[in-house]
C-alpha cells in the first residue's frame, strides 16, 4: 500500500496559549514495500507523523491518501491493511489471556480454529515469546518488556500490508531486538510488507532501513537513502542524533591514525579496517 501525506499540518491544543505545532507542512510518500525509518529528537513530531499516516490523527490541513484514496473524515481502521504499534503498546492489552489478545485482530478478519491458532503462535514467535508457555498466561502477569512483545505480536498477527511501529525495540533485551529486526526484514522480503519504524538507535536503523527521514520541530529536515545519511555525523548531530558506532569509530580512528578513513556501517568492514591499521601502524 502506498501512503501519501500532502502538505500536512497539525497542532495540539490549538486556540489555547499552549498550542504546539506538532507537524508543519509535511509532505511525504511511503512507497509499497519500502523500509522507512523516522528519527529525530524527542518532541520533533515522529509519533504524530505515524498517527497521521495510520489515519487515527486527523490533520488540521493537508490530505492523507492510502493507495491514492483520500481518507474520509472518519476512516475505519481495517485490520490487515495497516498495523500500528504504539509507543507504550502495553497500554493496549485488554484480554484475559495472551492468546486472546493476539487473536483479536485475526478473529475480526475471520480466522478461526487451527488457522487462528497457527497465526497466533507465529506472531508470538516473531516477538521471541515461547508461544506454548505464554499463550494461556494473563497479559498483566507479565513484565513490561514481555507485555510490549505481546502487544507487538497482536499488531503483527493481522499480517497487515503496512506496519507502522513506534520504537518497537525500546525495552526489549538485545537478543530479542536482533531477532525482531530479522523477522521484520523477512516479512518485508517475503511478503513485501511496507515498514515505517520510529527509532532512536542508529545502529539498529543502519541494519533495518533503506530510507531515513529526520524530523525536526514538526518538519522533515532530511529525507534520503539511510546508508548515506547515517554516515553523515554532522547532519545527525545537528538534529540531536548519534551516528552508528562504526561511523563514530571511523572518525576516532581518522583522528588518531593521522589519515582519513571513509565511514563504514558494517561490523565486518570495521574489523577489516582495524586489522589494516594494525598491520600498517607502528609495531604491527
Amino acid at each position: 500500500m502506498r501512503i501519501e501525506l500532502d502538505d500536512i499540518s497539525l497542532s495540539f491544543q490549538p486556540g489555547t496559549p499552549f498550542a504546539v505545532k506538532a507537524l508543519d507542512r509535511v509532505s511525504l510518500m511511503v512507497r509499497p514495500g519500502e523500509r522507512l525509518a523516522i528519527a529525530g529528537s524527542t518532541g520533533s513530531g515522529k509519533s504524530t507523523l505515524l498517527g497521521v499516516m495510520a489515519g487515527i490523527l486527523r490533520p488540521a490541513a493537508g490530505r492523507v491518501l492510502h493507495d491514492g484514496q483520500a481518507l474520509s473524515r472518519k476512516p475505519r481502521l481495517q485490520p490487515g491493511r495497516i498495523g500500528l504499534g504504539l509507543q507504550s503498546p502495553e497500554n493496549c492489552l485488554f484480554e484475559k489471556t495472551v492468546f486472546d489478545d493476539v487473536a483479536f485482530a485475526p478473529r475480526r478478519m475471520g480466522l478461526d480454529g487451527e488457522r487462528l491458532g497457527q497465526r497466533v503462535m507465529w506472531a508470538l514467535e516473531c516477538v521471541g515469546l515461547d508461544a506454548a508457555a505464554s499463550a494461556t498466561r494473563e497479559p498483566f502477569s507479565l513484565s513490561v518488556g514481555e507485555q510490549r512483545r505481546v502487544a507487538l505480536a497482536g499488531v503483527i498477527a493481522a499480517e497487515p500490508a503496512v506496519l507502522l511501529l513506534d520504537e518497537p525495540t525500546a525495552y526489549l533485551d538485545p537478543a530479542t531486538r536482533r531477532d525482531l529486526l530479522e523477522r521484520l526484514l523477512a516479512m518485508n522480503d517475503e511478503r513485501g510488507t511496507t515498514m515505517v519504524v520510529v527509532g532512536h538507535d542508529m545502529d539498529e536503523l543502519a541494519v533495518f532501513a533503506e530510507r531515513l527521514v529526520i524530523m525536526d520541530d514538526g518538519r522533515v529536515a532530511a529525507d534520503g537513502p539511510a546508508d548515506k545519511l547515517l554516515k553523515d555525523e554532522a547532519l545527525l548531530e545537528r538534529y540531536g542524533l548519534e551516528a552508528p558506532g562504526t561511523v563514530r569509530l571511523c572518525r576516532l580512528l581518522s583522528g588518531c591514525a593521522g589519515r582519513e578513513f571513509a565511514a563504514v556501517l558494517d561490523e565486518e568492514q570495521a574489523a577489516n579496517l582495524l586489522q589494516e591499521i594494525m598491520g600498517w601502524g607502528p609495531g604491527g
Binding site: F18, R137, S141, R149, L172, P174, A175, M202, A271
Partner: protein
C-alpha cells in the same frame, strides 16, 4: 567495614496470581549495596529486574527473607516514608508516574510531600527543570508531551527530591541519543556527588563506568562483578540475552582472526587508542 545502604537477605518473591499461573519472580537473593556504588542491573525481559528494584523502596516486600534500606526494614510499614525518601525511583513507563496537570506541578508534587519551604521548592524545580531541559515546558500539560519529553519530566521530578539512592528502570529508552548522552553525564555527576545509583538497562554501552554489574536470570543473581568480566563467558551472555558493546564485539572478531587486544577495550575510544597507540 563500609556501611551497606541496601541489603537483601534470602529474598524471594512470587506475584499472587490465579491458580496455575504461579511464577517465582525472585528466588533467594542475598546482596549488599554500599553507599556511593554505581550498579548496573541487567537481564532478559522477565528476569526479575523490575521486581527486584521494587523491593528497594518498599513497593513490594519479600514473601520470605528481608530487605533493609539504610538499616530500615521494608516489611515495617512505619518505615515506608523514610525508605522512599532515601530511595527515589524512575519507572519504565513515564505515564505511570505523572500525576499533575502541569509539568511544574508534577515536579513539585514530591517536593511538597516532603514539606519543604516554598522558596526551596521553587529553587529545586528551576534547577531540575534546567538540568533536564524541560524549563520551557513547565506550564504545559504532561498529557500532551511526547514520550521522550515525559521521560525527562519524570526524571526531573525524582532528581529534585535529591534521594541518596536513585533507582532508574530503563530511564533512557525513549530518549533521543543527544538527550541520552546528556542524561548519562547528569547521572554520572550525581554519582560523583555521592549518590548511590541502581541503573537497569538493556544497553551495555550505558554501563561503561559502572562499578559493578548484577545480572539476573529467572529471578536469580547469576553474575555480580566488574563490567569487563561479564563479557568473558559466552554462555552467560546468552543466558541473560545480553549483547557486548561494539568495541568488545570488534575486539572479539579481531581475536578470532589472530590479533588479541589486551586489555579488551570496552568503549570505542579505548579501542581506537589501543589500535593506534
Amino acid at each position: 567495614m563500609e556501611q551497606s545502604i541496601i541489603s537483601l537477605k534470602n529474598v524471594s518473591y512470587a506475584y499472587p496470581h490465579a491458580a496455575g499461573d504461579q511464577r517465582v519472580a525472585l528466588s533467594d537473593i542475598t546482596l549488599d549495596i554500599r553507599e556511593g556504588e554505581f550498579i548496573g542491573l541487567v537481564g532478559a525481559n522477565g528476569s526479575g529486574k523490575s521486581t527486584l528494584v521494587r523491593m528497594l523502596n518498599a513497593l513490594l516486600v519479600p514473601v520470605s527473607g528481608e530487605v533493609r534500606v539504610d538499616g530500615l526494614l521494608t516489611s515495617d510499614r512505619a518505615n515506608h516514608n523514610r525508605i522512599r525518601e532515601t530511595a527515589g525511583m524512575v519507572f519504565q513507563n513515564p505515564d505511570s508516574q505523572i500525576v499533575a496537570t502541569s509539568v511544574e506541578d508534577d515536579i513539585a508534587f514530591g517536593l511538597e510531600n516532603l514539606g519543604l519551604p516554598v522558596e526551596e521548592i521553587e529553587r529545586r524545580i528551576t534547577t531540575a527543570a534546567r538540568r533536564f531541559g524541560v524549563a520551557g515546558l513547565l506550564e504545559r500539560e504532561p498529557h500532551w508531551l511526547s514520550g521522550g519529553q515525559k521521560q525527562r519530566v519524570v526524571l526531573a521530578g525524582v532528581v529534585a527530591l535529591e534521594p541518596r539512592v536513585l533507582i532508574l528502570d530503563e530511564p533512557t529508552s525513549m530518549l533521543d541519543p543527544c538527550s541520552r548522552r546528556r542524561f548519562h553525564s547528569l547521572v554520572e555527576d550525581l554519582w560523583r556527588g555521592g549518590a548511590t545509583i541502581i541503573y537497569i538497562t538493556q544497553l551495555m554501552d550505558e554501563l561503561a563506568f559502572a562499578d559493578r554489574i548484577l545480572a539476573l536470570d529467572a529471578g536469580r543473581v547469576v553474575f555480580d562483578g566488574r563490567p569487563r568480566d561479564i563479557f568473558s563467558s559466552d554462555e552467560l551472555l546468552e543466558r541473560i540475552s545480553l549483547e557486548p558493546p561494539l568495541a568488545v564485539r570488534l575486539a572479539r572478531t579481531l581475536a578470532r582472526r589472530g590479533c588479541e587486544l589486551s586489555p579488551v577495550p570496552l568503549t570505542l575510544s579505548q579501542l581506537a587508542e589501543e589500535i593506534c597507540g
